[in-house]
C-alpha cells in the first residue's frame, strides 16, 4: 500500500463527511415524499448522485409519474457521464475496477481528484478513490439516519420537512448561479414551472424546463 499524502487524505475526508451529512436531508426528504426507508436507502446505494436522488423524490412527491421522475433525475445524472469522460483517461482502470470507479464518479470525487492533480498523478488517483468511497460511506450512513428519523416524526409539516426539500434544491443550485444568464435562467425556469403546473400533468412542468436550458445553451 503506497503512502497517502496527508493533504490529499485531509481534503478527501473533510469533503466526504460534509457532503455525506447531506444524506440526512435526503433520507428525510425521501420518506417525507412517500418513499419507504428501504427505497430511500436503495436510491443512495444504487443511484448515488445527490441531485438526481432529490429530483426523483421531489417529482414523485409532487404527484408526478415514475417516468417523469426518472427522466428528471437522469437529466441531472448526465453530468456524471461527463465526469467519467474526464476521469477515465486519468484512472486507466478496466473490468470490475471500472464498474466501481463509475459508481463513485460524482461531483465531489471528480472535483477532489482534479484539485489534487498539482500534487501529481498518484495524489490525483488517491483523491478520487478516497473521496468516492468516503462520500459513499457517509452518504449511505446518513441516509438511513434521515429516513428512520423522518419515519418517526409523523406529520412532516410540523417539523418543517416539506420546506427542507426545496431548501436543499436551492442550496444545490445556488453555487451554480455564476453569471447573469444563469440567474435569468433560474428565475425563468421557476416562473415557467409554476405557470405550467395547473396545465400540465405533475412532473412535466419540471422536466420541460430542461428544454429552456438547451435553447439557452445553443444560443450561447
Amino acid at each position: 500500500m503506497s503512502k497517502i499524502e496527508s493533504t490529499t487524505f485531509r481534503d478527501s475526508l473533510s469533503v466526504s463527511i460534509t457532503v455525506g451529512a447531506y444524506g440526512i436531508a435526503f433520507g428525510a426528504a425521501a420518506v417525507a415524499n412517500g418513499f419507504s426507508v428501504l427505497q430511500s436507502c436503495l436510491l443512495s446505494l444504487l443511484t448515488f448522485s445527490g441531485a438526481s436522488q432529490f429530483a426523483v423524490v421531489g417529482v414523485l412527491g409532487a404527484g408526478g409519474t415514475a417516468l417523469s421522475g426518472i427522466a428528471t433525475a437522469s437529466l441531472l445524472g448526465f453530468r456524471n457521464g461527463l465526469y467519467g469522460v474526464i476521469m477515465a483517461p486519468r484512472l486507466k482502470v478496466k473490468g470490475f475496477k471500472r464498474v466501481v470507479a463509475a459508481q463513485v464518479t460524482i461531483d465531489e470525487s471528480t472535483a477532489v481528484a482534479l484539485g489534487q492533480e498539482v500534487r501529481g498523478e498518484k495524489a490525483m488517483r488517491q483523491g478520487f478513490w478516497l473521496t468516492g468511497f468516503g462520500v459513499f460511506f457517509f452518504w449511505n450512513l446518513f441516509t438511513v439516519a434521515g429516513a428512520l428519523g423522518a419515519q418517526a416524526m409523523g406529520d412532516i409539516r410540523a417539523w418543517g420537512l416539506d420546506s427542507a426539500v426545496p431548501a436543499a434544491f436551492l442550496g444545490l443550485v445556488w453555487p451554480r448561479l455564476q453569471s447573469t444568464r444563469d440567474r435569468i435562467l433560474a428565475v425563468g425556469a421557476m416562473v415557467f414551472a409554476l405557470a405550467m403546473t395547473p396545465i400540465l400533468p405533475a412532473g412535466l412542468p419540471i422536466i420541460a424546463t430542461a428544454f429552456i436550458a438547451i435553447v439557452v445553451g445553443l444560443r450561447a
Binding site: Q39, S52, G69, A73, S74, A167, G171, M190, A193
Partner: protein, 102 residues
C-alpha cells in the same frame, strides 16, 4: 410494482449507465463547447423548477403557505453564506414555526 419502486430502480439503472458510459466513450465525444454549456445549464433549470414547484404548489394548484417562510429562511441563509446543513435546517425551523402559527 408501484411507481415508487419503478422510480427507485429506473433512476438507479440509468444513473449507473450514464456513469459507466462516460468511462467508456472517447473523450472527444463530449468536447463540443455547446454540449458543455448545455450540461452546465440543465441542472440550473431543473433544480430551480424543483424549488418553485416544491414551495408553491399543492397537487396542480398554486398556493402560498407556511413553506414560503422556509424558502425565505433558506434564501437568507444562502445570502449570508451559511453552509448547506444550516440552509436546510433554518428552512425547516422557519417553516415549522409558520405552520404552527398559521
Amino acid at each position: 410494482m408501484n411507481s415508487f419502486w419503478i422510480a427507485t430502480i429506473g433512476t438507479s439503472m440509468i444513473a449507473f449507465a450514464l456513469k459507466y458510459t462516460g468511462h467508456s466513450v472517447p473523450e472527444k465525444f463530449f468536447a463540443h463547447p455547446k454540449v458543455q454549456a448545455i450540461n452546465a445549464l440543465i441542472p440550473i433549470a431543473l433544480l430551480s423548477a424543483l424549488v418553485a414547484v416544491q414551495s408553491f404548489t399543492d397537487k396542480s394548484k398554486l398556493v402560498i403557505d407556511h413553506r414560503l417562510a422556509g424558502l425565505g429562511a433558506a434564501l437568507l441563509a444562502l445570502i449570508l453564506k451559511a453552509p448547506f446543513p444550516v440552509v436546510v435546517i433554518s428552512a425547516a425551523i422557519a417553516s415549522a414555526a409558520a405552520y404552527k402559527l398559521l
